[in-house]
Symmetry: D2
């Protein structure tokens, strides 16, 4: 109810502040018998970790995950899995001058408006550091999905106005921005360098692709698969837009152009993005999210302090130029959490093998 | 869990099929003492009702709402409010030829995949008729929001590729497409007529604007206000994309361009769309949704039947050319449901007047 | 959240007041393909219906259930099932004199305290009439349980201080009080007649027995099967106590007396009531509930009115002498709702057939 | 959904196994501004801690709680509060011989039946050690209740068949069994000593008393205050029965005896236990729970192993003679969790000050 729990069956609750003792997640509803060790989680955390890549902050966090409960002899037991990542490189003092000032584009002012108080250090709960817990929990979801043959992959398709011209998935691992177009990736890096010199920041677009997803996932009418994916993506701090399949472009097509014809071999197009009436149709699921530029810029900005007086602010600190590519494992984690949850939901809400069944296609 | 309930405190559960006996909603969690009569709901239903406007179906449904419980002497009592709308003009037989055929772009195939059976008449539960229950429940939410000074208004900003060039809210009520640009509206009508002759259909973009929303609504980190709005909008059948504030355009701005400066008088821009870190900031909330073209087209399309054999289909029936403008009250209803829920959530999750408070801005 | 929804997967939402238009329930999460017609529900409603038996009110309600959605061609579709029972014999005027007076032992005063207003007619939402909706929904749960071989039966084991001396289940249908001891039942009827002449009312104890329940149902640590059954039973208006298996008697046993030994053929005792550590063990589940005497008595009682002034009250109206036996189908319904929900929960939370399994006993 | 979360607004999720790394709880939905330090929690944990008292195990656990998130400068921030208690004195090896044997009266067999595997060490998740997390979370709830003037106190009213003859609350702190009757407490201790020599164990009855509870808490019809309290209590491992107010005794009273008359000064009796129609009436809330004898006894018992073969077992280990008195702070914690949750629920579901109100009594 207070917003820190996600999912209905495969359910996670996250906690922790940027400069508190630790961040973590409790995963409840994971089926028993799933092989799970810290190493299964660490790989994803390492991709999200600060300290590497052309757009990244110099804050160094090992982001070492510990599993405090829910596994026994290397397998899940069906009881809640408690994951914790202790904060190591937290320089709280460097935020002292921001104690009473609201950084533009950040949640400083809205946390104060909502709660009447806030942990100002590094953004507190509103910090992107909170997503470490999501990534850890999402990795557990990923282990479950792997047993069902479902694969989630996110990659950069636009950054600072530079758009990928192709979707060559083989190239994703060949450049630092996880872009399926090496040439575009090079132009993106150039754009980042330019903007960094300018003390400014950049946004972009990430695409998430789900392959191997069985048909039938998603619960009409409010927990449709696309609705849940949209919520999941929009719950990531920097995301300001979500589209499925053709998305906003579909608004400009006619019905005859947009409909995906059906053949005995499957759909001959995928404007639907793999989801019809909120239910997966067995095709690839395609999601795109708009990522806003990071609001922390090393330039003078106009704002107010807690007393409501006008002040100017220049946010130094240790900040990324763009949430891309560190946001990529976060997008994957959120998609995995949605899919794992709906996979388990369909096991119990789908046709009961004991009950009378119509012949299926 | 099965997807027919929306909201956590102001909570609705909808039910009903297109060609069943009725559609309806149970509203639970509405505070006691709210004035509520069927007339308060009927006005919104009349705007959603089929049978009028340039893009609409000729199916005639009075869509008369009845309140079966939860009010006494014209006021809510705090107990669940049961709303029902009986179906009158249901011609089930006209769907007999579709019993075993999957219409492209519809949920026919995915309902069969998910449930192993389906009520094929008029799309069953996947029909847009289901949204009548949302609109009825949303009207109750609207009554509650009115008491708090919150106003939700949706309107057409694009249809069939024709975009509104202005946001003159006064013009919304002056044209049949509820467009804040009368001139664009005329071009949209022309586009509809052209496409209708072509036996095709159109999509577009609807913008939703919330004014008077208090700061502090939204529950980080997963029930952020923008996340919940995105889910709400994406749960509407025809919607394929959602953006908040600058949305996808924000991905192409720099941080210095995208940040909204703060002054003692308020924000001097609204790229954030009134939401920072998932919490309303007191500014207008701006949402845009991409509406796909209606998939029912009176043209031959390639598909399969339940036996998996290739067939062609031409969907006659009584269908709209575009989900716009009938989708407008549905978008409003979903926004209202989210806001009413979060208004009540903030009452209990916000600062406790009994507890020690920091001075607020 | 507002308390009118029960269950997590097999989920019901009830609505309606005693003297409103109707009472009803929406059942969400029932699997597709279950045979379901009004007749499957009506039999249980008829047992709960007022107007028969030695302890009953003369109010005549046909309690005819209608299914407004969720079935197609006699089978459930997986979409929500809307059940409605219209009120027919509501004499609201006979409650006019109670408009401003709080009947002792009733919710009149607490509804006023909680909501600041109330529908006083026949107790409004607090009326036992509300349980008609539970019984209807519970009958749907019963249909599902039947397909899984689970059977729920409740019966009277004590009334007005007269206790059954045996559990001869064959005798349950042989007396008007559904007591497994015909001789005790006769004494109970005599006690009812005596008390009726005295313008007083009686309570008793109902036992609920579940046979055929598979092992493994119940979700530790808070949604244990016994915890959920306790909540379900205690949510029935007249119930003031719940015990499982040996219950309060277990508090007086030693461990060696209370433990049920395990043999290859099963447990050799059932003090646990079929539940260990909150999980069903495959044995019969045994629950007992304490039913308080009906508070509406045709005697002068001391109370206050809404202005807080002392008044005396004599409740005439059309009232039962005891909630037993009409409460029996309500107890069965609540047990069925819990079991159906946990049956579906175990389908998704139990061991995944795809995952590595330990050999089971 | 998987059962490790409790509460709707004041919501806790617990995790951890008896012989795992730690046990803990995440508290979500606690209002901002509440003073909270580890010391506020430690006192309750110390009362639950093993290693003291006449009926206790010699396992020594410091049960030191750490707050990992959700507070800042000694006050809650409105974000989730993560509590952790590391396990120190876990002798896992002493359970090796129980790896494949099901202890009678324990969840060994049902965990295996449910999950297909289990952490057998010390009962794993089914261990009473899990309640440490409940007590920690309940202490946070207690801090919130204190600000609202609500006080929860539990005490022993029966042990091993010895019943307290009075409720002298002043005597509770004067004996090791927290019994409001020093003389009875002495007899209980004698009974414990006798049974210990006999290698057996004892049960008893705990009463929980809530004073200062405002009227209006509880959400009809399923989340009634008594229903939620019953679920809360029955979710404690050893509890087999729950009653409210007169409880099972009410079943033997007539209506005229059981009804609590109302006067301008309040109720003149409290058979209702402070709850009418599921809503608190402002009077003291009285709950009693039946606690079964501890199943771990140092005597030969008949059981089976995982292969289904008959074996005998003698449970040595480090075990209590009775769950009383260590269960007392657990009962208090569960009552506090229910009350804190309903206190917050009533803030948002009660009458809206902005809406039209009827005059209240």
């Amino acid at each position: 109810m207070a917003g820190n729990t996600f999912g209905k069956i495969f359910q996670i609750t996250t906690w922790g502040e940027s400069h508190g003792t630790a961040v973590g997640a409790v995963v409840d509803g994971c089926p028993p018998g799933l092989p799970l060790t810290p190493a299964d989680i660490q790989a994803d955390l390492d991709r999200r970790r600060p300290g590497g890549g052309p757009a990244s902050t110099p804050r160094k966090e090992p982001d070492q995950v510990e599993i405090l409960s829910g596994t026994f002899e290397g397998l899940t037991t069906g009881t809640p899995i408690s994951l914790v990542i202790f904060n190591r490189d937290a320089h709280s003092k460097s935020y002292d001058h921001l104690k009473d000032i609201y950084r533009p584009g950040h949640g400083d002012i809205t946390y104060q408006q909502k709660y009447g108080r806030r942990d100002h250090r590094g953004g507190g709960r509103a910090s992107a550091r909170e997503t470490a817990a999501r990534v850890a929990a999402g990795a557990v979801a990923g282990c479950l999905l792997t047993t069902a043959g479902v694969r989630v992959q996110a990659y950069t398709v636009e950054l600072g106005g530079v758009a990928a011209q192709q979707r060559n998935l083989a190239e994703i691992s060949q450049n630092a921005l996880f872009c399926p177009d090496n040439q575009a990736a090079a132009a993106m890096v150039a754009r980042i360098d330019e903007v960094r010199r300018n003390h400014d920041t950049l946004g972009g677009v990430v695409e998430i692709r789900v392959s191997g997803c069985p048909a039938g996932l998603g619960e009409p009418v409010f927990d449709k698969l696309d609705a849940e994916l949209a919520r999941a993506m929009m719950s990531i701090g920097a995301v300001k837009g979500v589209e499925i399949g053709a998305g906003f472009a579909a608004a400009r097509l006619t019905g005859s152009e947009n409909n995906d014809p059906i053949t005995p071999e499957g759909f001959t197009g995928n404007n639907s993005g793999g989801i019809l009436a909120g239910i997966s149709n067995g095709d690839e699921i395609i999601i795109r999210v708009a990522v806003k530029p990071i609001p922390s810029i090393a330039r003078e900005q106009q704002t107010i302090n807690r007393q409501g007086q006008p002040v100017t602010i220049k946010v130094g600190g240790r900040h990324d130029i763009s949430a891309i590519p560190r946001i990529i494992p976060v997008c994957e984690a959120m998609a995995r959490l949605v899919l794992a949850d709906h996979l388990l939901r369909q096991r119990t809400l789908g046709p009961d093998p004991k009950l009378k069944r119509a012949p299926t296609p």
